[in-house]
Amino acid sequence: MAELFQHLSTGFGAALTLSNLGFALIGCLLGTLIGVLPGLGAVATVAMLLPVTYGLDPLSGMIMLASIYYGAQYGGSTTAILVNLPGESSSVVTCLDGYRMARNGRAGAALSVAALGSLFAGIVGTLFIAGLGPLLAGVSQRFNSPEYFALMVFGLIGSVVLANGSVLKAIAMVFLGLLVGLVGIDVTSGTLRYTFGSLQLYDGIGFVVLALGFFGIPEIMSNLEKPASTRSVMVASYDSLMPTREEVRRAVPASIRGTLLGSFLGILPGGGGILAAFSSYALEKRVSKTPERFGTGMVEGVAGPESANNAAAQTAFIPMLTLGIPSHPVMALMMGALLVHGMAPGSSIMVNQPVLFWGLVASMFIGNLMLVIINLPMIGIWVQLLKVPYRLLFPAVLIFCCIGIYSVNNSAFEVMLAAFVATLGYVFYKLGCEPAPFLLAVVLGPMMEENLRRSMTLSRGDPAIFVERPICLALLVLSALLVALIALPSIRKRREETFVE
């Protein structure tokens, strides 16, 4: 413990210099900005700034890149809440209740809860890195292909619980998502599937295309079909920007649960952030006394997932810093930057480059605090944005969506694909088919298939591999219990009542 404090003081010593504070501030501002602009991702920004950091001291460079990354996670929730546009995959969940809160006139409260929940989660996540980094890295190594498969099964079944309306439609959307997830090169055999001879589809359909096409754009279309007089995005009156006492009482435990869940799921390379947000939402719905009100603007549905995704964003650094495995494209870029400086990420970095490692950890505390200081006063301004007439707001939002989609891969094809997906999204919206289970299936489906087939290759075709391993078996048993819960008639009855209402 004493050792930890000594390390942290080394770190703060390195991170609290004026220039490093400046780089953290620049990173946080840039990150918030790109997070707020829908679709403009941290990956593109970090890539553009990467060459700039080559000339900097490695620690300063890392601090700036890292603060862009978590700043973007932070900013992404703003558009999700205000205009139903998820910028990052993990903000999809925030759309569900955050946007409803905004429509109920609680936009300020939703944004404050998201910001404070993220701060708490960011700090806890960073403590995890500082105290338990190497230990947690060991845990993530116990997660091999069979465990990943079981985790994905669990996640997919959980996604049905996410839906508010008909279970049948939710399951149908999950299956559709699985099919769309098949598009592209099959990892196991190298065969092309559903690409129709188009090179553009070799790597599947991008997540940003689907997220904006299914969430944001159909929302705009359905707003536009209403007469102009009733088209205002929000209710006319804005209550206080701060959450009420009652909201705080409900948000705090949700935030703590989300943080713990996110801190753990974040260390698993691949899909940690989105799984964390989804599982936290499902958990909140399960423990709530009024699960039927989720999707109508429940503060727990914002606090939990927002904390979970921010905690996961922090602990995602663990596999990179301790094992040299990037768990997010931004991490891959940061590893590239370290390699150019002649440093190789891995467990040796803590020993050989203590100032870099602990300086980065210390800067995460500072950066998370900075983000709240930057963002809390901004909430008032963001909410004002909703007073902009819709005829001016929606073209601006659409333009940012297009820029965002294009900037992911510099691909005009993806912008056109998004237009097609949005048309489909509008049809689903009209049919009452919810996009959240679909999107989760697109993300988790390919990973599930890949890990299933890989496990079977590793066991030379013996399915016993899934029951011989304790973690895997436990996850599969949990999945079976979840199915039973969904199928239980009493629950089904309650669901139908909600749907009728």
Partner: protein
């Protein structure tokens, strides 16, 4: 009369065309040059392109921008290069796995290698045969003996079917007469994680990106797949040295290509500029820090490198039934 007029017109057009062409070549470059990279930001391909671009820009007096066009194992960037005019303003910074393997593996191929011509090789990276720290062997000899004594027990990882790591391992197995089960992963990161966790026991990788893991012992290098030993693991013999794989040197290389119709003077100019950029001490040092070796040299030297590679790769892919997928 009409025929004469037509002939004159044709001659004039030709002359005019020739004149503008020469003019274009003399003025080259008169506008921004774009380098297409077929992989997302990060990783050696993107990093090296961004390292060389400013030096080229300095010497050409025009902006040189790097544009990432990831997708289809380089196919999107190849398409972008081939759809642009053959005027030397669009270059493709490519690699083994983007330039050679897809053109053999896919039917129809995403692009024809002949539709491109080399400008210059930039760097190559030595490979290494990596093993899980828990694997019961630490040298190439021990590995071969173990694999022969325990058939169908070992797995090898790769970053995908038809990836460089996959092909290298298939070549090794082919030459050594051993059989391991191929377990492909979605990218290099997950494959390395699986190697550390002993889910797969061996993997062919490039030495540069595995350096940190080799140094802290989370994976072990059992053989260097190049003709010279490496400073990262000085005690590890090269595959050639062991006598088991004489002359085995499956390097991973990076370099510039342009459309085949690009005029010679433009290619020569670009080649010269790349050579100068690579001679710049700062550039050379950064490339060497990443454990790569600077290439440079005439365009045809780069062509020989990738055509030799294609000749070695094709029979392996054919044997695996991966041609025309």
């Amino acid at each position: 009369m009409i025929r004469a007029l037509a002939a004159a017109a044709a001659a004039l057009t030709l002359a005019a065309g020739w004149a503008t062409a020469t003019l274009a070549q003399d003025n080259y470059p008169s506008k921004q040059i774009t380098i297409l990279v077929g992989s997302p930001p990060g990783g050696p391909t993107d990093t090296f392109a961004r390292l060389v671009a400013p030096e080229m820009s300095k010497r050409l007096g025009q902006t040189v921008v790097v544009e990432n066009r990831p997708g289809a194992a380089g196919g999107i960037a190849a398409q972008g290069t081939l759809q642009a005019p053959a005027d030397g303003y669009t270059l493709w910074f490519t690699t083994t796995s983007h330039l050679v393997i897809p053109t053999i593996m896919r039917d129809p191929p995403p692009f024809a290698r002949d539709a491109l011509r080399p400008v210059a090789g930039v760097a190559y990276g030595p490979g290494a045969l990596l093993a899980s720290p828990k694997a019961p062997f630490s040298t190439l000899e021990e590995f071969v003996a173990y694999a022969k004594a325990h058939p169908d027990e070992l797995n090898f990882g790769s970053s995908g079917v038809g990836s460089n790591a996959h092909i290298v391992m298939e070549r090794i197995m082919d030459q050594l007469g051993i059989k391991l089960t191929h377990v492909p992963y979605n990218g290099n990161g997950p494959a390395m994680a699986a190697l550390m966790a002993n889910e797969v026991q061996v993997m062919g990788g490039d030495l540069g990106s595995a350096r940190g893991n080799i140094q802290d012992g989370t994976v072990k290098a059992i053989s260097i797949l190049a003709l010279d030993r490496s400073s990262i693991a000085p005690g590890v013999k090269t595959a050639d040295e062991t006598g088991l794989l004489p002359g085995f040197n499956p390097v991973f290389y990076l370099g510039f290509v342009v459309r085949a119709e690009t005029p010679d003077p433009i290619v020569a100019k670009l080649n010269g500029v790349v050579d100068e950029a690579l001679a710049e001490p700062a550039v050379k040092e950064q490339i060497e820090k990443a454990q790569f070796v600077v290439l440079g040299g005439a365009p045809e030297e780069f062509r020989k490198l990738y055509e030799d590679d294609a000749a070695a790769t094709r029979p392996i892919l054919e044997k695996l039934g991966l041609v025309g997928k």
